[in-house]
């Protein structure tokens, strides 16, 4: 349903005629929802004016960056942040970047690499907003999620502009918690379902040292991009182990010794997806790697700041792996493949290949907790996938899971997904059932699991009724109930 003429005109006055639309023609490209209107603000003042208008008319709104995923209620005002895509500052000295929501990771990374810097990239990939945080491949060296936000400029659900931390007192971006107001507990996340109410308009994110080259010298033509050689003082390896316990032993020691730029617990199916340039290749490479592997494994990239640093890291890595009876998968040591994996897994450009390419859909259960325990949960979830694979409902990945540790690796993310064809109703139903059962099992075993849909009361009780507190808190900020509530927070 389109907005009333009066409201539409008011919003049009804010963003300009060219940047508002409620024509049904565009709706399929906006998640297929029958939105009230899509508006494209250019700056914080416009965002604020939109939010205030929404409050005045008690109209719900949602702010969205690339909008890779998500479903949005009909009739809402969809604030597409596309035009807010500026890199405001890359502060080399204090190692932070101030950006707007629609700067994508690939862009910020390109600019940061030139300066010998990088930042946490959520595993979703370089096609997503660099500002909206998450967890990903580089978590061991860049930490993850809310650790990486410094000061934030936030338009509250009522349309006030709040500047957190140092920004609120001295107009500087270097700290999110003081000397100005710290509102970290509210500005939790933008990865569904933990969506912060209101709109982030700018944020400073932490930068880290980048030991890789200022740019990769990519060769070849799409879909096969290679590096002419493995960049100096960088190395990528996939290690597989005789057991999960042994794998964990190596993983935690590598974390504690801060050896890796990246430690990603890819399964071999995901490695295959990274290398393969089409679905058929993907299947072939997976079968080969599945035979070659010793057992469960992980993918590692090390990068030295000097020849000595690299030599030390390599030696330590190899010793730790050896002591855990791990072995490098030889076929992946081929320099061309190694180069592909280094470029792809530092820039995080293959998540689309890993998830959507096969059948067009995937369903995932990410669990955040102590890595060694969540791995055990994931083994069970993987076993529960096997009948679906056998029935041909989901892509054969050997029933595998993946994940990675954050910082020193004790806490981390463990995730498991099923790839399937969404047009296949039987497959869809089987995957939904699997997802429900395994999500439930995660809660029963007291892990944080990200679940879509309604969460049952006993789970909420187990989480100290956090959902009630959250709702009460967001209501206080949002008396007109216009901001997105997010999903079931746990």
């Amino acid at each position: 349903m389109a907005l009333s003429k009066e409201i539409y005109r008011e919003l049009e006055d804010i963003v300009g005629e060219e940047f508002i639309c409620s024509d049904p023609a565009i709706m399929p490209s906006y998640h297929g929802s029958d939105l009230g209107a899509v508006v494209l603000p250019e700056n914080t003042v416009q965002v604020q004016a939109i939010v205030k208008t929404c409050n005045r008319y008690k109209l719900q709104f949602s702010a969205v960056a690339t909008g890779w995923t998500g479903s949005f209620k009909k009739d809402i005002v969809y604030i597409d942040m596309r035009r807010m895509n500026r890199i405001i500052e890359i502060n080399e000295k204090n190692m932070y970047a101030v950006i707007e929501p629609y700067v994508i990771t690939a862009e910020l990374q390109a600019e940061c690499f030139k300066k010998g810097l990088h930042f946490n990239v959520k595993g979703a990939g370089s096609n997503c907003s660099a500002m909206l945080r998450g967890h990903g491949h580089l978590d061991q060296s860049t930490s993850g999620d809310d650790r990486n936000h410094l000061a934030i400029e936030w338009v509250t659900p009522e349309g006030e502009i709040v500047r957190s931390g140092a920004l609120g007192s001295t107009d500087e971006w270097f700290c999110g918690d003081g000397p100005g107001p710290s509102i970290r507990a509210i500005l939790t996340s933008a990865v569904p379902p933990g969506v912060t109410p209101g709109v982030f308009t700018k944020a400073a994110i932490k930068l880290y040292h980048w030991a890789g080259p200022p740019k990769y010298d990519i060769q070849g033509l799409s879909p096969k991009y290679t590096l002419p050689e493995v960049p100096k003082n960088m190395m990528a390896r996939y290690y597989s182990f005789p057991s999960v316990e042994k794998m964990w032993q190596a993983e935690i020691r590598l974390g504690e010794n801060e050896i890796c730029m990246e430690l990603m617990g890819f399964n071999v199916s995901m490695v295959a997806a990274n290398i393969a340039t089409c679905n058929e290749d993907d299947e072939r490479i997976f079968k080969r790697l599945n035979k070659e592997k010793k057992g469960p494994g992980f993918f590692v990239i090390i990068a030295g700041n000097s020849d000595n640093d690299f030599a030390f890291k390599k030696k330590a890595l190899e010793q730790i792996v050896r002591e855990a009876e791990g072995e490098s998968m030889k076929s992946l040591e081929d320099p061309e493949t190694e180069g592909i994996l280094i470029a792809q897994c530092t820039r995080v450009t293959a998540s689309i290949r890993e998830t959507f390419r096969a059948g067009g859909a995937f369903s995932s259960i990410p669990i955040m907790s102590q890595r060694d325990l969540t791995i055990k949960w994931a083994i069970g979830a993987g076993e529960a996938k096997l009948p679906l694979i056998k029935a041909g409902h989901i892509v054969d990945d050997g029933g595998a899971f993946f994940g990675w540790g954050v910082e020193q690796g004790h806490v981390g993310k463990t995730e498991i997904f099923c790839k399937f064809d969404p047009a296949n109703e039987k497959a869809k139903a089987a995957v939904e059932k699997w997802s429900k059962e395994q999500g439930r099992r995660a809660f029963d075993e007291s892990y944080f699991a990200l679940m879509m849909g309604e969460v049952s009361d006993d789970i909420k009780a187990n989480m100290c009724h956090y959902d009630k507190w959250w709702i009460a808190l967001t209501r206080a900020f949002d008396p007109n109930d216009v901001a997105p509530q997010g999903g079931p927070l746990v």
Partner: protein, 421 residues
Amino acid sequence: MGLEQYQGDVNMCCRCSACKFIPLQHVKSYDFSYVCPSISRFQFHSYSGGGRANIISAGLKNGFNYTDKFLDIVYNCQMCGACGVSCNYAMDMELQEPINELRIKCVAEGKTHPELERVIKTLKKTGAMVPVQGKRGDWAKGLDLKDATKEKVDVLFHVGCLTSYNKDMHKLARATAQILKKAKVNFGIAGDMETCCGGRAYQMGYEKEFLKQAKMNMSMIKKAGIKTVVTACADGYHAFKVLYDKYELKGDLKVLHITEYIDMLIKEGKLKPKKALDMVVTYHDPCRLGRLGEPWIHYKGKKIPGDRFVFDPPKEYRRGTKGVYEPPRDIIKSIPGVKLIEMERIREYAWCCGAGGGVNESNPDFAEWTATERIFEATATGAEAIVSACPWCEVTLSQAIEENESSLKVYDIVELVAKAL
């Protein structure tokens, strides 16, 4: 053919936005990260390749509602194929083809653009996509070239509408003739008998008119016993090589772009650029010579039921891998004194000049905006000139240069070669 065959493909779109950008691994800066002019200019997701796929997917399910906005989305696209290349880095699905088919469907259902209608009316009347001044063969006056429709030649040089009728572009045809003569190629032209290749009509969605032109051309070619066609226009190249093949009209006609032909002549020692030109240039890949210039793949097969979007026999996608990228670069490098510096967006992920898909005619401001972006990128390399291999690129880029009072020069590659001989 038809849009329906792509239902499965458009349903595969996962809204990842890769289609908006150059392949993500190639992003080297904030300034030149985008590849799709339409999303960059019009901003709503609907103008991106993925947005278009979403619209097609919904339309095939629920029917199409041709609102003004819908048609604005449909016609504000250069059909340059860049979205497809970026998508196909990661995904196995057709993207450019359903976008082409949507245009064709709109035209077939009378949902046309008035400016494009006007162009097609001219085509029907004159056999040309541009206003006709004088005769098609006027550019060749005094050159004493063979008439390929009457005399036996090894090569037909198909000149194209813009070069033939825009007097400022006659220099390209004359330079091409000069080069071919110098290499002692037994070539001819069709002169006043030449007619439009139909390629730009196809880009605008006018399939019927395209087919009429294609059949006329192939009938003339067959009658004259011509085995090889060389075009100096990327649109012409794409039409003869890819579209005629797609519609099974090409037979075993050999189609070469002038850059492929000159490159071959240089490598065979039949041409030798000798004069030093002392200039720093950058090269602009025309979309229909580059990513869209790769051969058509005839495919018949069925989706294998099950978990993956795979086909029996396995489907090979046109991902821009086999376009013409090296010959023009090799030619430039063979000219003494010329230094080539690359822009950031090149080869299969080159930024379009803006002229394609009828945008030049339907929305000249958008065409110029697109060309201006390219001019900025070329200027950022430090080059003094941008070299292309298509008259449409040259005209559009020149206009943007003039409008922006830039000091950048524009050359077609044949001009450089002719100067250096």
